[in-house]
Assembly symmetry: C2
Homo-oligomer: 418 residues x 2
């Protein structure tokens, strides 16, 4: 049987939007991987009556209620009091909990204030769940489910709102208890990351794979699309089998079958083949170099980048022939090629890549519209270029244009590995 699971988030700071709730997405994701779905989420403030009401309502409907927040030592932390009121329980000082709170303060060499004692008061019949990080323990309660005819029970878990503490308690104590009561139907997952293809094109290409309509979720980003594949025992194909089919259908569009970014994939290829690189950027303004240098150890392949924004710097630093710029304009296939060659030379690198284009919002013309971009790649094997046309938003363009030239580099490396 699949349990009905509800989540209750307690805290004015969530309700007012001043804090973003990271706990709910975390729990939903972990639960989904064991085949459990959440049926209802409530967000409530710090008022005692409201907390009691929502807990009582959820407990009347659900098999498992996961409550986060409001376990701290201050006066606006009222979750335990709310639970006690909802179910007519008294709160009792738990000596074990008090001891471990004292221990946390001793380890941190800090003074334990009287208010922290409050965190050792838990409802009668409840069981504390060890908090390996902070002072507020998790709390576990089993209650008779009044709404149920079958005499079933509702299990309530209280966890602190601090994400690290919440996650630690959820991972160590909560999930295992849910699994012990409700047989998990583990979900198999796989990932495919693609680039250079639109979401609708992608959807049309792979939706007809067996079970695909249920198994695929798409997460589009400017840096491509992530396809998450999730299958269970009822799926016609396993996640890994579907992944293989997706890769076969999409071919070169696939840059990773794991959570690696395009720059990580490129870094690994460069390192493996002991190749170095130089980057000449105009329209991408440093974003390509930034992405390549985000990878630890990138100094092994990254020699030099030049952001040649002015024509003078294209000529003086990258040694692009001024006649080329005069004749074809800075945004041209000729200048893209010369920039890639130039940076390869001045960086003393194996490969040079380049971008020149019109990021916007100004600067477009009928002949060279906003969003036009030329990408170049140069190596001992020669120089090639690509013309691409994107949209009108500057930041999106910088992002998509950097993706385009990095993908051109990936495909070059892939081809030359063969």
């Amino acid at each position: 049987m699949k349990p009905l699971i509800e989540i209750i988030v307690v805290g004015n700071e969530i309700l007012s939007g001043s804090t973003v709730d990271k706990n709910t997405p975390y729990m939903i994701d972990i639960l989904a991987r064991s085949g459990y779905a959440v049926s209802f989420i409530s967000v409530v403030g710090d008022k005692l009556d409201d907390i009691a009401d929502v807990c009582s309502n959820s407990a009347g409907r659900a098999d498992v209620v996961l409550v986060t927040g409001g376990l701290g030592p201050t006066s606006d932390d009222r979750t335990v009091e709310g639970i006690a009121r909802a179910f007519g329980l008294t709160r009792i000082l738990n000596e074990d909990v008090l001891k471990s709170i004292r221990e946390v303060f001793r380890r941190r060499k800090r003074f334990m204030s009287e208010s922290n004692k409050k965190q050792a008061m838990i409802p009668e019949g409840a069981e504390p769940l060890d908090n390996p990080i902070g002072t507020a323990p998790g709390i576990y309660l089993k209650l008779k489910n009044n709404a149920s005819d079958t005499g079933s029970e509702t299990e309530i878990y209280l966890m602190p709102g601090v994400p690290m503490e919440m996650q630690a308690i959820f991972d160590t104590a909560v999930l295992s208890r849910i699994k012990a009561t409700y047989k998990p139907s583990p979900v198999e997952t796989a990932t495919v990351r693609v680039t250079g293809i639109s979401e609708s094109q992608l959807y049309d290409t792979i939706r007809h794979l067996p079970g695909g309509d249920d198994a695929f979720a798409f997460y589009p980003r400017y840096s491509g699309i992530e396809i998450k594949i999730m299958t269970d025992e009822h799926s016609p194909l396993s996640a890994v089998e579907l992944q293989e089919k997706v890769v076969a259908v999409l071919g070169d569009h696939v840059y990773a079958t794991c959570d690696e970014s395009l720059e990580e994939v490129i870094a690994n290829m460069l390192l493996k083949n002991r190749l170095t690189i130089g980057v000449a950027e105009s329209c991408t303004g440093g974003f390509v170099a930034h992405r390549l240098t985000n990878i630890p150890g990138s100094s092994a392949y990254m020699q030099c980048g030049v952001i040649a924004y002015s024509n003078e710097s294209k000529q003086d630093v990258l040694r692009v022939n001024s006649e080329l710029i005069k004749e074809h304009g800075a945004v041209s296939v000729e200048v893209a090629a010369a920039m890639a060659e130039g940076v390869r030379n001045i960086a003393g690198a194996d490969i040079g890549i380049s971008t020149t284009g019109i990021a916007g919002p100004g600067g477009g013309s009928a002949e060279k519209p906003l969003g036009l971009m030329y990408a170049g790649i140069s190596s001992a094997n020669g120089t090639s270029t690509k013309k691409l046309q994107f949209g009108e938003d500057r930041l999106i363009n910088k992002s998509i244009m950097s993706q385009a030239v990095l993908d051109m580099l990936r495909l070059y490396l892939k081809k030359s590995e063969k």
Copy 2:
């Protein structure tokens, strides 16, 4: 009187985490600016009974219920049906709505399917709210509040889940109706953005300002901290008065008193003073140039950037004396100064800035630990440098280090304006 406002989010895709709900934060923010607070948020899936239950519960508690999602044409869009069930209403075809749906399809030159007719079925007694963007109208209902002794009424607003459509309906029709019934107590807001100061230092410095504890909210980012100031008629000082006091206390740490980024502030100063810039980066790997070129029109001041990752490129491209590197190492005050001077020369710019440091995670030593950074700035007035020490995370370091050198540039520009 302040209304009790509840939000209901309908949709399996929100509950499963595959879509992030952007509508709730949007409404909370807009409502807060008029002095309204949200007291409860529910997230429910696409099941008819669940939708009916949650709508009925909220209507029993609240004065205003804002429902988003589930107004589309497909079979899993059940919000209107749920509302009808909750309050025993029948659904009636609204000819005006049908006409405007037809009009949307005509404009888009697309075929209107039979299923879109469903979107013109609204509960009896309800009023459609014009959707200027899409096909699903908003729906407004006024109901007797059964839970209330005073015979008060609950107002229910249904809006589509697509953020653009939801926002258009909320802005044009919903907010004005709420304001017409419940006198807004407008909240005055102001912003102060600071950098180069820790959150705890900041808090200690400004919390004692009159009314500050209630008025301030802090949003820390790697690019500094944003202080949001919110005051109402009961606050001892207005938001603008508090803003002035914060600026006076924090002095040079303040880089903006509006929503401008540090790079926008710098862009405006450079443009105003007709100054151009060159950027030489080592540890920040292109991120400084990326930030400076994110601003539309940056080609007016940005001449050239050099990401001198290898020692050879520091020598060959930036013309840093190789003896300096040999003697002091690439991460040194001497090389930071030479890089700033070098890039100023080769870019032909008024100002050169530079970064050299150890971003991590490897490369640290006892003498030059991980997170060490030197920033440089060079102009016709001379060259100055700054030594800074940050943490161990590469991406955070790139972010904080870029912020540090940009802030150094801002302070230089500010001083030279005087």
